[in-house]
């Protein structure tokens, strides 16, 4: 009887963990649910910075297409670099991305969020147009979410376009500059990302 009880408790915990950070498959609802949960957690004063960072990392790992983003930001080099180097790059890119993301959201202040419309670009992409309204008198911020919908059951975020500025494109052009200045040597980029992660 005790074993059955432990089994059920474990099962409930496992199912809860699976559902944690799982959002709707409809791109519009997916963004709404994700952002509203993020706003609620990040503005929760009872949570420590470490707990918030852990939350951000889990949400990003489950809902951002970090692998595709890493390849996109590598530009044309992803086609010519050897597989070992790309694998090494993707491992360090993920660490870089997560560190950068948690750092950016540290000073988060509470905002209201509203999805304006969903623009289906193709079977692979839907752009969700939204706006953030800070609680202070600061102006509202327009944010477009590029959602990858190739697997309709599991939408993934590939880019955020804040007031017309694509974060992925900015990252890609930053990396391109580093690569151009170093004879397209991916090792230099990997080392720079590693330095960022270590510092």
């Amino acid at each position: 009887m005790k074993k059955i009880k432990i089994f059920f408790i474990s099962l409930i915990f496992f199912l809860y963990t699976l559902n944690l950070y799982a959002y709707s498959s409809d791109p519009r609802d997916f963004v709404t649910e994700l952002v509203n949960e993020a706003i609620s957690k990040l503005s929760d004063k009872t949570l420590s910075t470490e707990e918030k960072a852990q939350f951000i990392e889990q949400v990003a790992l489950n809902n951002v297409d970090i692998n595709a983003l890493g390849l996109y930001t590598l530009g044309e080099l992803r086609k010519s670099a050897n597989k070992e180097d790309i694998k090494e790059y993707q491992i360090v890119f993920e660490k870089y991305f997560l560190k950068s993301l948690t750092s950016r959201l540290t000073d988060y202040s509470s905002s209201k969020f509203e999805v304006l419309e969903a623009d289906i670009k193709s079977s692979n992409y839907t752009i969700i147009k939204s706006k953030m309204m800070p609680e202070s008198d600061d102006p509202e911020i327009k944010i477009d979410w590029r959602i990858y919908t190739k697997n309709p059951d599991k939408p993934l975020i590939r880019d955020l376009i804040v007031e017309g500025l694509s974060l992925a494109r900015t990252q890609k052009e930053e990396f391109a500059s580093i690569l151009n200045s170093n004879n397209n040597d991916i090792k230099v980029l990997i080392n720079k990302l590693q330095d960022f992660v270590n510092n």
Partner: protein, 245 residues
């Protein structure tokens, strides 16, 4: 003298239009020099602009909003001839109406009643007008104090001072509809605009600085994307994800 300068700018623009289509926006004219100027600009920002902006950000909100409205209203003056040159009659109405309403009912532009009436003028300059005429951006470089630019935008920046009624009144000290001023007025307004902008972006800039592995390139990308957005009057990003499936 005025016409001579205008002819020189027109000549540069013509040369630019002949060659610009062969140059990609991302291409640098002299990256080494630009990076050195960028370092100088960063030092200038750290020593002067950022501390002033931080002090400014501590001012009471109504003063900051009023100052921001005032400088935006003056900037609208430059948008009026540019909207005309671009043939954008709707925006011409917005910019003219906004300037007239805010300068009068809005007490010299410190208030923004025009926005509540639905007038939302886009900021337009000669660089954007040249882009609308099909002139490419030319190469990218960094100017001391003024920051990132392209060949087209630098020509535009010079031309702005010839068609901007505010520059006409201040830099050239010509009287226009009873208004007069001097060079100090012009550069004071430009300086306040820069401080206001920097103050609005203290957190954004700190975050960018902290998270960039090459800040020079990040700012270059942001500048070029922002110019594209302003030229197209759209918040849609011109990225290339579709090519990557």
């Amino acid at each position: 003298m005025y016409w001579k300068k205008l002819i020189v700018i027109s000549f540069i623009t013509m040369i630019l239009s002949l060659h610009s289509n062969n140059i990609k926006a991302a291409e640098e004219c002299f990256e080494g020099v630009s990076r050195s100027i960028f370092k100088f600009n960063m030092a200038f920002d750290e020593a002067i602009l950022e501390p002033v902006a931080k002090g400014y950000s501590k001012l009471p909100k109504p003063i900051k909003i009023g100052t921001s409205n005032f400088t935006s209203n003056i900037a609208t003056l430059l948008s009026i001839p540019n909207n005309l040159l671009q043939g954008n009659l709707k925006q011409l109405g917005h910019s003219t109406g906004s300037f007239l309403i805010n300068s009068s009912i809005g007490i010299l532009g410190f208030l923004n009643p025009a926005e509540k009436m639905g007038l939302t003028p886009h900021k337009e300059d000669v660089g954007q007008t040249l882009a609308k005429y099909g002139i490419g951006s030319g190469c990218y470089f960094v100017l001391p104090i003024l920051g990132p630019t392209t060949t087209r935008d630098t020509v535009g920046l010079l031309a702005d001072t010839f068609i901007d009624p505010f520059a006409h009144v201040t830099i050239r000290e010509k009287e226009l509809l009873g208004a007069s001023g001097n060079t100090i007025d012009y550069y004071s307004v430009k300086g306040i605009t820069a401080v206001d902008f920097r103050s609005d972006n203290i957190i954004n800039f700190d975050s960018l600085e902290k998270n960039s592995i090459d800040l020079y390139s990040s700012l270059k990308s942001i500048y070029l994307q922002d110019r594209e957005r302003k030229i197209n009057n759209s918040s849609d990003s011109q990225d290339d994800w579709e090519l990557d499936n």
